[in-house]
Amino acid sequence: MKQDEIQRYNANERSNHWAVAILFILAGLSGLALFHPALFWLSNLFGGGPWTRILHPFLGVAMFVLFLGLVFRFWSANYFSGNDGLWLKNIGKVMRNQEDGVPPIGKYNPGQKLLFWALLVSMLVLLVSGIVIWREYFSHLFGIDVIRLAALAHAFAAFVLVLAIIVHVYAAIWIKGSFGAMLSGKVSHRWARKHHELWYREVTDRKRD
């Protein structure tokens, strides 16, 4: 590691993240194929409609299981705390790339924390509702009203998840250095101090000890 870089994610964390990301893309595209007729052509990517129907639930379950790894890794860093309320009040400034008045925050800013919890809740809903509407193995265990509710909840949670990931991906494009952080694991001192000052101090203090 170069002297001016800080480790933000280790190799296991990065691999876990990208495995979930790949499964999200596969589960997402196969799900969107069934979400609206305008996107049914996406089923061709999976070998046609029946294959899309067969694969989608397995992809979704795999995504959920691996996502649990991320949940356990990052759980404690995503409690709301300290300056989070003040940061959220200044979200407009954050969006305009202004730094005055935006308080320093820890390893994750409240936006990232909201994302974390939104992902967790939406994936839990997707898992439970997805099992209910998994016709081949599970639907016969449930009544028709439960199945209808699950179909609705599944589509809604998927919508929330896709929106959350759009925001997540855009934030990675917008905040230069964060994409590299998840790819190589490293960020510069300057980056850490600018975007996650409290975390930066914590990390550098620990090093000094």
């Binding site: 194929a33 007729p37 510069s188």
Partner: protein, 308 residues
């Protein structure tokens, strides 16, 4: 052969070929004339080349006990005790109702797997079926069944192959008491009126036609002696409608959700264009204190041949 009389097609947002005008048809099942012989079940099985597995006796006349991918129609027998203690044996031929507003078609995600013809028949195209079972979720009458063999959805076709060449459905053809009749929907409604008048004259004051508005009317209709209580007949829905949950799931929410996802992507793009990225200033990217004096790496030496 091109089909030119499709008035609704699953998972399709533009009009299907629908230039050919044909009259709406209907099958009328007069429950009061049904003797429960199951000839219609046999005729259905014969015409459609279906052979369901031999089941077991469940202590009732119902056989098979439920609709299956191989049994598109079943007789449902109900023993109903009237208030005066009389026993009535209510026999209803169950199967697809061919709704004018079909919940199965609304729920289906596969383009063209379910179509509705101008004559009112709702038909499944199994070659386009992906086996998701959404038609089961959408149906207000619990009719479609997914085959365990090929994972495709099946149900009564109203013998669309026979009807398209001017024949009546197989069950109608075989019914020995003419409890099942077939014709234009108008004619069937008129015929039902006569039957209802007859039933009323014989003491069935609540006799009536089952052609529920909640699903836009159906192309399989019943004459019921107790039209005020359809659920007496083995749970025939009193007020069938496409479930509000299905309407919400498959209605305006889907295009709105697509729009919102597209807007989120565009929002990000224009945020980048207008506000721009957040960069860490490069020149300040060296926080560690560098030595003030320049030190040359002893391994690197310059050699100038002009110097002595």
């Amino acid at each position: 052969m091109a089909t030119q009389d499709i008035i609704a097609r699953s998972a399709t947002t533009t009009p299907a070929p629908s230039i050919r005008q044909v009259e709406e048809v209907a099958k009328l099942i007069d429950v009061s004339k049904c003797i429960g012989c199951k000839a219609c079940q046999v005729a259905c099985s014969e015409w459609n080349e279906l052979r369901d597995e031999v089941g077991s006796n469940h202590g009732t006349y119902d056989n098979p006990i439920d609709l299956t991918a191989d049994s598109w129609t079943v007789m449902r027998f109900t023993e109903h005790e009237k208030d005066d203690g009389d026993l009535e044996w209510l026999i209803r031929k169950d199967g697809c109702m061919h709704c004018a507003d079909p919940g199965c078609l609304k729920a289906c995600p596969s383009p063209g797997a379910i179509v509705q013809y101008a004559n009112g028949i709702v038909d499944f195209n199994q070659d386009k079926c992906i086996g998701c079972g959404y038609c089961v979720t959408g149906c207000p009458f619990n009719v479609p069944r997914i085959s365990q063999d090929d994972k495709k959805a099946y149900k009564c076709t109203l013998c669309s192959d026979r009807v398209s060449v001017g024949m009546e459905p197989a069950c109608v053809k075989t019914c020995p008491t003419s409890a099942i009749v077939f014709g234009s929907k108008d004619d069937m409604q008129r015929h039902a009126d006569e039957r209802i008048a007859d039933l009323k004259s014989r003491g069935y004051e609540h006799a009536g036609l089952y052609d529920p508005d909640g699903v836009g009317g159906t192309h399989v209709m019943y004459v019921l002696h107790h039209a005020d209580k359809p659920s007496l007949y083995a749970g025939l829905p009193d007020q069938p409608v496409i479930s509000p949950m299905v309407s919400l799931w498959k209605g305006i929410t889907k295009p709105l959700a697509l729009l919102a996802m597209g807007a989120a992507v565009l929002g990000g793009f224009f945020h980048y264009v207008r506000v721009g990225p957040q960069r860490v200033e490069e020149e300040q990217d060296e926080p560690t204190v560098e030595p003030a004096a320049h030190q040359q790496d002893p391994a690197v030496q310059t050699y100038d041949p002009k110097q002595p």
